[in-house]
Symmetry: C2
Subunit: 447 residues, 2 copies
């Protein structure tokens, strides 16, 4: 008699919100007062190992309950799944989720519903990596290329990237992977920091944090721009004076501009040698990014944190619309769609510098860049992962930055798990923090 | 003392699902078993006139509860709004909804959250038209061009269409509007019918319904394709034989193909003289549509029902990617975003043939095409509104088709209101139909 196979027995969701707007951490031209939040999901099983799969979509406050509702809508696809079969071939779940024609209408493959798919798919990969006893980057880097290709949905990509081309890229990427793994474990992966550059900070704080960034070993910082040109010129001047001519300084407009305005504004900042202009306009505007890139060179154009799927990335690359691909671990449909995007970038020879920050985006995305280095492109040249130094303490396996580098995680999984204390305190609206806060607001109104 | 101004006092939401999957109405290559549904919203006020504003997002079943949750998330922006001020300038609400930076993160301007904005914005325009005592098409056609331009969000459009160009188009469009209004009231607006062509129908039903369409005065029909090429060839042959050489026959692949496959498949059907190929690939693939269009001419390329906002339509036009713009009344951010798309199409000289069907999409979108005819492009040449003959009975002001034409609505408003009986019967899961259905399922399992 064979034993009963282990299955997914519960899909728990949590509405987690951190009150970041009170400190102006994370303020930019488009997002003046974000409360960094996570629609958080935990997959539980009846396996003897006790492992859980953790994943989340990142939002910035209001509407996080809608994101949670979207994850709840996927529960029926998860409950009762055979765990061995799922972890051996997560693509079976992907096909069911992306292929659910009724849910597909709500996108397709974009917005709240697609981010929900990303959250649960990432949770499955977290679980698979834990069961394999490997950090996710290592599971990916050591996987058979044929198996990895089988995990990817090539629909709508084959005019730019076929499965055969992907397989060739992955096979070539594996050459020398052992040496690169050793180097990665020793040195880590280069990071850049956005911490000095939030729009809500005054010049003194900008100066202090930019100086600290250089002292800490970062070779690139980033400044938010786009609200007021005179302010931006002053802040770029201040930052450049602090960091000197060789440290790279990226600027980020967070989609604030139309095409012509993006070109004018970027040129007005060119005297301070910005390395890239990030999100100069709508993330949907492929042709707009191409026009901006032609006009502002040698300033590079970067985008991707709001690009909603592989099909838009494909076109940004086909149109020659960007110099830097900024994947986000929790915007698209999880690990397999990000693998497709990494492969597209590799084919077109464009470096990937992930978006991070938020809640846990650094924790997740480091795994993808480390895989890219070890087993796909084989290089970290012109590649850096964004780093923002808040909210990491709430994670069980937080990122560790040393001398401007992400240290390679060694704990099994995708580093996605929040501490139980964080769930208890920041669940909205019933957690300790919010209950007290809402109570104080009520009393304030009564007084 | 001035009287207390009337305000919005309630935002009621309803999860409405019609069990259309039981009849295979609406089946296509991507959507085999849709339960046509609406996340339905009613704005109530304390005005003495008793008018309500009705709007909805259309979905096809599962996930409709997520769409309802997204509308609920907008409630705070609506409750307490001064009614006179809101109806005099609905753009104030639009700016608050689109500009809510925390909600914006969930898109931006795409997917569930954007469709929720469309639903409530359309409800406001329904209310404004009722208060003005005009059907919406007439309110739009008689509005001052300056005011209309002020309703539109030109963000991310100005490289293709400026407010000044829009104003010029609207001013020119008004010339002769009185005569066209009279002609519209007399003849109606041309329609085409998709009713014969659902993928689940056999050849006999296709033959019967195609013959009836021609007898009913339609000059264009549409067939769903994309599941099996041999079937499609047979069905196109059957349909063409029934309708003869002069009635137009469009084909619709519902996003089934990659670029190369779309080209091969469309060419294989070219012998039957399809008028357009609709949704040949992903709605996000602007460059893909452009490549397909270059390859399959003289077959025209049509898309739009899943295009999520004006920025993608802008690029489809800039890239020369389509011959026919298919707006949808309930996918984008409501009336003002559709005005922007109509203006873009007018500027680029591309005809608009709206997507309709679903739940109430015919009822809504007729108003937009009639405005386009009366007060923007001034023509119905090569323009037809999709017509599907189901679910109209559930509406208080259903569309009326005569001799293949939509009759111009005369009742004030946007024709968006469902009958109270429909709400009582098809609310999910508590309405009469679903309660009985779920009960029967339970008993079936128990038996």
């Amino acid at each position: 008699m064979s034993p009963t196979p282990a299955r997914i027995t519960a899909v728990d969701t949590h509405d987690i919100r951190f009150p970041t707007s009170r400190e102006l951490d994370g303020s930019d031209a488009m997002n003046p007062d974000p409360d960094y939040s996570a629609a958080y999901v935990v997959l539980r099983t009846d396996a003897a190992d006790g492992h859980e799969g953790h994943g989340f979509a990142f939002t910035i406050g209001r509407g996080n309950e809608v994101q949670v509702a979207a994850i709840d809508a996927l529960r029926g696809h998860l409950l009762g799944r055979d765990l061995d079969a799922l972890c051996a071939d997560p693509a079976t779940l992907n096909r069911d989720l992306i292929g659910d024609s009724q849910l597909r209408w709500l996108g397709p493959e974009k917005g709240v519903m697609h981010m929900a798919i990303g959250a649960v798919v990432n949770a499955v990969w977290d679980l698979a990596a834990k069961r394999a006893g490997l950090p996710l980057w290592r599971l990916l880097a050591e996987a058979e290329p044929e198996w990895l290709v089988g995990q990817i949905d090539f629909r709508y990509l084959t005019d730019a990237l076929t499965p055969e081309e992907a397989l060739a890229l992955l096979r070539r990427g594996r050459e020398g992977a052992g040496e690169r793994t050793a180097r990665l474990l020793e040195r880590g992966y280069p990071a850049y920091t956005t911490s000095p550059g939030w729009l809500g900070y005054d010049d003194a704080k900008l100066t202090r944090l930019a100086a600290r960034a250089v002292a800490d070993g970062f070779t690139q910082i980033k400044l938010k721009v786009g609200a007021d040109l005179d302010d931006d010129i002053r802040r770029c001047r201040v930052a450049r004076a602090v960091i000197g001519p060789t440290v790279r300084m990226a600027v980020d407009a967070n989609q604030r501009w139309d095409v012509d305005e993006a070109i004018r504004w970027t040129k007005a900042l060119a005297a301070f040698d910005p390395y890239w202009i990030e999100e100069p306009t709508s993330p949907d505007d492929i042709l707009g990014h191409a026009a901006i890139r032609r006009a502002v060179a040698p300033v590079k154009v970067a985008t991707g944190e709001h690009v909603h799927n592989r099909i838009v990335f494909k076109q940004l690359l086909q149109a020659g619309a960007l110099d830097v691909v900024q994947i986000d671990a929790a915007r698209v449909g999880g690990v397999p769609e990000n693998l497709a995007i990494l492969l597209l970038a590799a084919k077109f020879g464009v470096p990937v510098c992930p978006h991070a920050g938020g809640v846990g985006l650094c924790e997740l995305v480091q795994h993808l860049s480390m895989f890219d280095y070890v087993a796909l492109t084989g290089t970290t040249e012109d590649r850096v992962i964004e780093y923002v130094d808040h909210l990491h303490d709430h994670f069980l396996d937080p990122v560790v930055i040393r001398q401007g580098h992400y240290t390679a995680p060694t704990a099994p999984g995708f580093s996605a798990a929040l501490r139980p204390e964080a769930l208890a305190r920041y669940t909205y609206p019933g957690g300790e923090f919010w209950a007290a806060d809402l109570d104080a607001t009520k009393k304030g109104h009564a007084a």
